[in-house]
């Protein structure tokens, strides 16, 4: 078996610990690597310059174990399997992190996971307060998934969504205009500003919002004889509204025969309009590093400046120069040293966090968390929606990250802060830990049954030839690494004490690892 010589990664960890600077060796042991902090490219140069300028003490570089888990969770929202983990950790090649990034970006789970994120932003939901209804949700979600899978240039995608006209079933992009609780031009303008400019137009001075709303005053909606079909179109019977002003303050001249949405889109996508590209790269940065260069990521405005304007400018230019290739931006960020820092901070000041001196820990997203628990235990969940009638039930084994419809869910997803997709604000997703969540993970029958009755865990625990083997497998399956020698001693003692009931001890171990901060948090 490939991972049998488990000593190598352990050795690496111990060496890493020995060189880990000010953190005591036993603490940093599995989390940091020995190497120096080295620039991998322009992102690092620009960030290191800020650290130097501000006297920030960065964290150490993260270990391979940490990188592996982090990359899987951040890029495809999925845990590595024990085999994948063992393979990566046993690989002594020097380019293995970059190779892993390329593999992950090409995985089928990549569009699954990012369609989820974009569906949060684009408010893909059947019912209340967004009322897309199931057929249109399927069409809309599929178009989002396809655009991401094909890596459709971001500017083209935006244009498709913004300028679309037609049936909500046949031209799925028009659902952008239906996924807004109100059809008032100001509400549309607010949704457009939030989605494509990362701006909260509700906070703008009134004339500015009204000026932008004028571009959306001729969006028409009409139903057809088909159940829940709706046509979104340029309604030229509506008068051209005067006073259309672009968000930068420039007045627009609208002609009656021209769809004013297209005038707005042309402004948005014009070369030199940094708003559009900077929102996109800032969001990706936020999604990967837990914090935007402009923070909040959807509150871009002149009096909320980026922590590092040069860095934001660089990414923006890269996006434009690559013809709006989003995956290019992912690749740049993921390969940087900044992305590959440890989570153990050496500098607790706010400006260290604002300048990405360590990778911030954050609780796994609701969908990722339940998928991970299901993957480890080989179990499935039921997802359904009671609205609208008749009820919707998803097939067994569908992963939570692939649920297309915000109306379909489970009590677990709600409890763990899945966004309701009401507004598209990033803050709708709530990853704060609560005592209720803790109770659920520690002691609910839901999680208990998954572990206790898991055939997958039972097989994994029984198959070992040495006492250590099943423990290593559990560690690889749950934490994507091998146990440290201290952990192994603790576990061995626990098994010793409950000799009579080996399976119970093993389930207690699985339970403990699933309830550890290392499992519950991205780190």
């Amino acid at each position: 078996m490939i991972w049998e010589p488990g000593i190598l990664p352990l050795l690496v960890s111990f060496l890493a610990a020995a060189f880990a600077g000010t953190i005591p060796e036993d603490r940093a042991a599995p989390f940091e690597s020995a190497g120096p902090i080295a620039s991998h490219g322009r992102i690092d140069e620009l960030t290191f310059a800020r650290w130097k300028q501000l006297g920030i003490q960065p964290s150490g570089p993260c270990s391979d174990e940490v990188f592996l888990r982090r990359a899987y969770l951040d890029v495809i929202g999925t845990l590595p399997t024990p085999d994948e983990a063992a393979q990566f950790l046993g690989d002594a090649g020097s380019g293995k992190r970059g190779a892993l990034i390329d593999r992950l970006l090409a995985r089928d789970e990549f569009p699954d996971y990012w369609a989820l994120k974009w569906s949060d932003l684009l408010r893909v939901k059947s019912e209340f307060p967004i009322n897309l209804w199931p057929n249109a949700v399927q069409a809309y979600y599929r178009s989002i998934h396809t655009a991401i899978a094909a890596n459709l240039p971001y500017d083209r995608w935006a244009r498709q969504l913004l300028d679309s006209s037609g049936s909500n079933f046949r031209v799925p992009e028009v659902n952008f205009y239906r996924a807004i609780p109100s059809r008032d031009p100001q509400a549309i303008a607010q949704a457009v500003a939030l989605t494509w400019m990362g701006a909260r137009a509700s906070q703008w001075p009134k004339p500015r919002l009204e000026g932008m709303a004028a571009f959306f005053s001729r969006v028409g909606y009409k139903s057809t004889s088909e159940w829940k079909e709706e046509i979104v179109y340029f309604d030229f019977t509506q008068p051209t509204r005067a006073g259309a002003v672009f968000p930068d303050g420039r007045a627009a001249r609208l002609t009656p025969g021209e769809d004013p949405r297209e005038v707005f889109t042309a402004w948005l996508l014009a070369p030199g309009n940094a708003w559009f590209a900077s929102n996109a790269v800032n969001r990706i940065w936020y999604w990967l590093l837990g914090r935007g260069i402009v923070q909040e990521p959807d509150d871009i405005r002149p009096d909320n400046p980026p922590a590092n304007p040069e860095l934001l400018g660089y990414l923006e230019r890269e996006l434009v120069a690559s013809h709006y290739d989003l995956r290019h931006i992912y690749r740049l960020i993921l390969n940087s040293q900044v992305y590959q820092m440890s989570s153990i901070p050496r500098d607790s000041r706010a400006q260290a966090a604002a300048n990405f001196a360590s990778y911030p820990v954050r609780r796994l997203d609701a969908e990722t968390l339940i998928d991970a628990i299901c993957q480890i235990t080989g179990t499935a969940e039921d997802y359904s929606s009671p609205i609208p009638e008749p009820f919707t039930y998803l097939p067994e084994n569908q992963r939570a990250t692939t649920i297309p419809d915000g109306s379909i869910g489970s009590a677990f997803l709600d409890m763990f802060g899945r966004p309701p997709r009401d507004t598209g604000l990033a803050s709708e997703r709530n990853n704060t830990i609560t005592a209720e969540q803790r109770l659920h993970l520690l002691n609910s029958s839901h999680i208990q049954v998954k572990i206790q009755q898991s055939v997958k865990l039972r097989t994994l625990v029984q198959a070992g030839r040495t006492p250590r083997e099943p423990v290593e497998r559990l560690y690889l399956a749950i934490l994507s690494r091998y146990p440290t020698s201290q952990e192994w001693q603790t576990v061995a003692a626990y098994f010793q004490a409950s000799k009579a009931n080996r399976w119970q001890a093993a389930t207690d171990l699985a339970w403990a690892l699933i309830n550890s901060a290392e499992f519950l948090y991205r780190h």
Partner: protein, 439 residues
């Protein structure tokens, strides 16, 4: 009027606040106050999920003919002037002095989710914002007084959650209700997360220790705020799992006669559990009582369910009163709407009733609500409100007033908008005045 500080939560503020507290300590550290003069301290909401027929419960129409009343032609008269109720509720009928009935609830909404939203938030569905439901608002303003050292959640649903649309809305997660799961009518009420059947206390302790020893990342980062929050949440969780706080859910502490009095079924025992929670200081308990969506065979369902409801509700009112808790506890019974007054005898309904948003009933008792009265009236067939319409915002506003919650206080929201507890006139939400006649 009290000056209420304007709360504008940024996400970071919310996280910081949440990081230091938890769902179980809702309200701590939030500079919001309830006005002190409120008489009520708690609400027990019996949520009749599905929408019970108004004409088959508290607004019978015996003379409307068989096509309207169906087989129910012998309503019970009560001591309350003008109040007759369905023949299957003799115990509730006998208690009529304790409660009042509103027969003229209305909102004109005919779909479950939107009607539930309207009834539980007092707002219009279809706005850009999703408002919190009454329980979440009460939890926001009254939760800080907490129960048993703030360890018991301030807003509890027995037993299944109602769904997203009727819960915390734009308020932070901590104001979501804690849904118990489990079944209080079972030998042991396995409250999800608090009671794990088959795991002994010793094993709980052993494996908790194992978790502490193996929590390598937590040890490496113990000063990080989010890791601290995890640790604090864990300690609170174990207070409920192994400590005294969780005992509130142990119905075995009650005498057998008491348990029998409420009825040995899920609803009856939920009423008993609600009384125990209120006794321990929990400000809002919802009993989510489903099964009233009687499109099909309405009368069979009523014959089966009403006696159970009669027993549980009557026992709850009497028990609260015996313990001197009724003065400070509002009991609010009602669903999202009523049901079609005219029976659909044809297949596939076979004597069913559809949704009816034009009028429906609510029952209120305790906490400052006068008993023994009837508010409003419907027409001869129970199809329209004839007299004194009461909109959801009117009823909810009255409940808030009795709890001492300032109706003009601001609701924190992520966008920092100026949102009030009860809609202002400018919002265009229909209102016909609070229930002064019952206070």
């Amino acid at each position: 009027m009290d000056k209420i500080p304007i709360l504008q939560f940024s996400r970071r503020d919310a996280l910081r606040l949440l990081g230091t507290g938890s769902l179980l300590a809702a309200g701590a550290g939030i500079p919001l106050r309830a006005k002190p003069e409120g008489k009520a301290k708690a609400v027990i909401q019996i949520w009749m999920w599905g929408g019970p027929s108004h004409t088959d419960t508290f607004d019978p129409k015996p003379s409307a003919g068989y096509d309207y009343r169906g087989p129910f032609d012998k309503p019970i008269a009560t001591k309350t002037a003008g109040l007759e109720i369905n023949e299957l509720m003799p115990l509730v009928a006998a208690q009529s002095r304790q409660y009042s009935v509103i027969r003229s609830m209305t909102h004109g909404i005919y779909a479950h989710e939107t009607a539930s939203y309207a009834v539980q938030t007092g707002r219009k569905p279809g706005e850009r914002l999703v408002y919190p439901c009454t329980g979440a608002v009460v939890s926001l303003f009254k939760g800080k007084d907490g129960a048993a050292g703030n360890l018991i959640p301030p807003y509890i649903v027995l037993t299944q959650p109602q769904g997203r649309f009727s819960e915390n809305g734009f308020l932070p997660e901590r104001y979501r209700p804690f849904a118990t799961g489990g079944d209080p009518a079972q030998a042991r009420f396995a409250v999800e997360g608090i009671v794990a059947p088959g795991v002994s206390d010793q094993r709980q302790k052993d494996r908790r220790q194992l978790l502490h020893q193996l929590n390598t990342l937590e040890h490496a980062m113990e000063n990080d705020p989010s890791i601290k929050a995890l640790d604090q949440a864990e300690r609170q969780a174990y207070e409920l799992i192994l400590g005294d706080a969780g005992k509130v859910f142990d119905l075995a502490e009650e005498k057998d006669e008491m348990r029998d009095r409420y009825g040995r079924n899920t609803f009856g025992q939920s009423c008993l559990a609600a009384r125990r929670l209120v006794e321990r200081g929990v400000p809002y308990v919802t009993i989510n009582y489903g099964g009233w969506d009687t499109h099909v065979q309405n009368f069979q369902v009523m014959r089966q369910k009403l006696p159970q409801m009669d027993k549980g509700l009557a026992a709850l009112l009497a028990d609260l009163s015996d313990r001197g808790l009724l003065d400070s506890t509002i009991v609010w019974w009602g669903g999202e709407f009523g049901r079609t007054p005219k029976v659909m005898w044809e297949a596939p309904w076979n004597g069913g009733r559809n949704h009816w948003g034009a009028c429906f009933c609510a029952l209120v008792a305790g906490g400052g609500f006068q008993g023994g009265r009837v508010v409003g009236a419907t027409d001869a067939k129970g199809e329209e409100v004839k007299d004194r319409p009461v909109y959801p915002a009117d009823l909810i506003g009255t409940i808030y007033e009795l709890l001492g919650i300032d109706l003009n206080a601001r609701l924190p929201n992520p966008q920092g908008l100026d949102l009030r507890v009860i809609p202002t006139a400018a919002e265009g939400v229909p209102m016909a005045g609070r229930l002064k006649e019952l206070v």
